[in-house]
């Protein structure tokens, strides 16, 4: 099912949680709403599920306007962070419950629930209570319960944040597998960029209720729309050095060292950030851009070097045969990719 969001605004008293949000989500995709806490992603999800109604704007499921439609008529399945399983019912009863409300005959109910349980791999524990299951198993049951009524849209609200690190990776792959097997359009809310990058078809990155960028995960990383997007994605985080534009060149730090990065059509004197990914630094002794090594740490397959560039400590993966010493002066230059120039105030991207 295709979802169209048009100029959604949600205000709580004076507080604007979502501001002029427009996006189209294609049928059968898994789209992640990503952002730091308080960015309005859960509010957005609640408006999609019908728990909240937007203050302004329209929500369309295919061609139906569902903006003010109540939850039960929307045909959405919802999975919560705390699973929200009914503790007094068995796994089977939990999965059957949405069908029970729909007054599906008992035999058919159990048949469908069992099929769902097989899909999420909990078919061996149908008679257990949720309290007797591990977190990952509870999450699987919650997904089965959300899917059993064959929803048009599956909504997952931070479904992995209560799990430990290893289970989280396993469950996110499971969610992706289940989503691909059923082909249900899915919206996944998380604050974890790695989670979002690994399973999504598209990511919507939000900040303070405003959509920042809506793109494929790799584009989001390679072509951030603004400074916030670049800062938010990537591990280790992107390096940021203050600079100023003069004659199309980006000059770094108080001494205005030439970074060798060029921008077009930016007026002289514009304060900017030069942001670059750690993998975009190249060691080059002949380069006029000098830096001083602070620390090198071996991270298994690669070596990460911290160095001071224009007064700021930054990090880069260095391919060096020579071992770098503390306080050693090195020359560096940047690759073509993974290097961006942002306006220091507006965050607007120049390069």
């Amino acid at each position: 099912m295709k979802i169209r969001l048009e100029n959604i605004v949600k205000r709580f008293d004076d507080n604007t949680a979502v501001d002029d949000f427009s996006a189209v989500i294609e049928s059968g995709e898994l789209v992640t709403l990503l952002g730091p806490s308080g960015c309005g992603k859960s509010t957005m999800l609640n408006m999609l599920s019908g728990i909240l109604y937007p203050t302004e704007g329209k929500i369309y499921f295919d061609e139906d306007d569902v903006t003010y439609m109540s939850s039960e008529k929307r045909g959405v399945g919802l999975v919560f962070q705390n699973y929200a399983l009914y503790p007094h019912m068995t796994v089977l009863e939990n999965i059957c419950f949405p069908l029970e409300i729909k007054k599906v005959p008992k035999k058919e109910r159990i048949e469908k629930a069992k099929k769902m349980a097989e899909l999420v791999h909990v078919e061996t524990m149908l008679n257990r209570k949720p309290g007797q299951l591990s977190g990952g198993q509870q999450q699987r049951v919650a997904i089965a319960r959300a899917l059993v009524k064959e929803p048009r849209l599956l909504l997952l609200d931070e479904p992995l944040s209560n799990l430990d690190a290893r289970l989280r990776i396993e469950m996110r792959e499971e969610i992706r597998r289940i989503q691909l097997e059923t082909g249900v359009t899915t919206i996944f809310v998380t604050h974890d960029q790695e989670e979002a990058m690994s399973i999504s078809d598209h990511i919507i990155l939000m900040k303070l209720g405003v959509l920042q960028q809506y793109d494929k995960p790799q584009y989001l990383y390679d072509q951030p729309a603004n400074c916030f997007v670049a800062d938010f994605l990537g591990n280790p985080p992107i390096n940021k050095v203050e600079g100023v534009v003069k004659g199309g060149k980006v000059l770094l730090g108080p001494n205005e060292e030439d970074s060798l990065v060029k921008v077009d059509n930016v007026p002289d004197g514009t304060p900017v950030y030069l942001s670059f990914r750690s993998e975009s630094v190249i060691l080059d002794d002949k380069s006029p851009l000098r830096a001083k090594v602070v620390l090198t740490s071996v991270m298994g397959k690669e070596i990460i070097t911290s160095f001071v560039l224009a007064g700021k400590e930054v990090r880069g993966y260095m391919n060096s045969d020579v071992e770098l010493q503390r306080d050693q002066e090195i020359g560096i230059r940047f690759k073509k990719t993974g290097v961006f120039v942002f306006d220091r105030e507006s965050g607007e991207r120049y390069l």
């Binding site: 039960e72 929200a84 409300i101």
Partner: protein, 292 residues
Amino acid sequence: MSNKSRNTETNSDRHIVKEPISFGRILTYVVLFAGAIIMIFPFYWMITGAFKTYQEVNLIPPTLFPSNPFNLENFIYAFKTAPFGRYFINSVLALLGCITTCSFTTILAAYAFSRLRFPGRELVFSLLLSLMMVPYEMIIITNYRTIVQWKLHDTIWALILPFMSSIFYTYILKGFFDSVPESLYQAAKVDGCSDWKYLWRVMVPMAKSSLATIILLNSIATWNSFLWPMIATNSKDVRTLPFGLYAFMTEGGQRNERMMAASTIVVIPMIIIFLFARKYIISGMSRGGIKG
């Protein structure tokens, strides 16, 4: 496998044996034992007294055990002179009437105050709570006037009507309902579950032990209630056991062994219920959040 578990068993046994029997421990048990004797002895005295003859009851020094433990004369006398059977039925009727209606209204009210959103919810609830400070004896007067005006005095309805709802039990149950995560409600709502169905299918089964506590406390209170039945009822046909016992005492003269028999008849059902359901009294009261 079995070998292994046996090993751990012996280990823990050894652990217990090793622990020295301290003076504090002995003292604790002595105090507990004394307390238990003090609590149990009146009941023991009552029950054994019911089997004694008039002469034996007044013996000095008293006998600790009735000489004829199958002497049912006192019970027969009690049942003959006062209609304890009728009293018992009345008590049971009042009890059933009170706990069914009160539990029902309590569940609905607790749910409304906990989950439904309506203007003035907090205000109404705090007003109700403040009513708990009004002493019971004061309400009795107005209740009596109402009952008389409705011409319901001296009927079973007079024993049920004033106790069809309870602020205190509503407060306890609301506390439990509040601890149920909101997401359960939202999950049910998204599936199209109505409030009514959610309440009876999810909330009430989850609140089983809180409800058991409420029903139990309510049963004890209703069974033992004395002042109101004495005021609201007159005739033998609608008397409940505690008031009937009182009437038996004043009407039957100072025959201790007969009073003991009558008292035993009154108390036994409650003791039986308590023995079966005592764990709920504690667990329901102390039960707060649930594991999510």
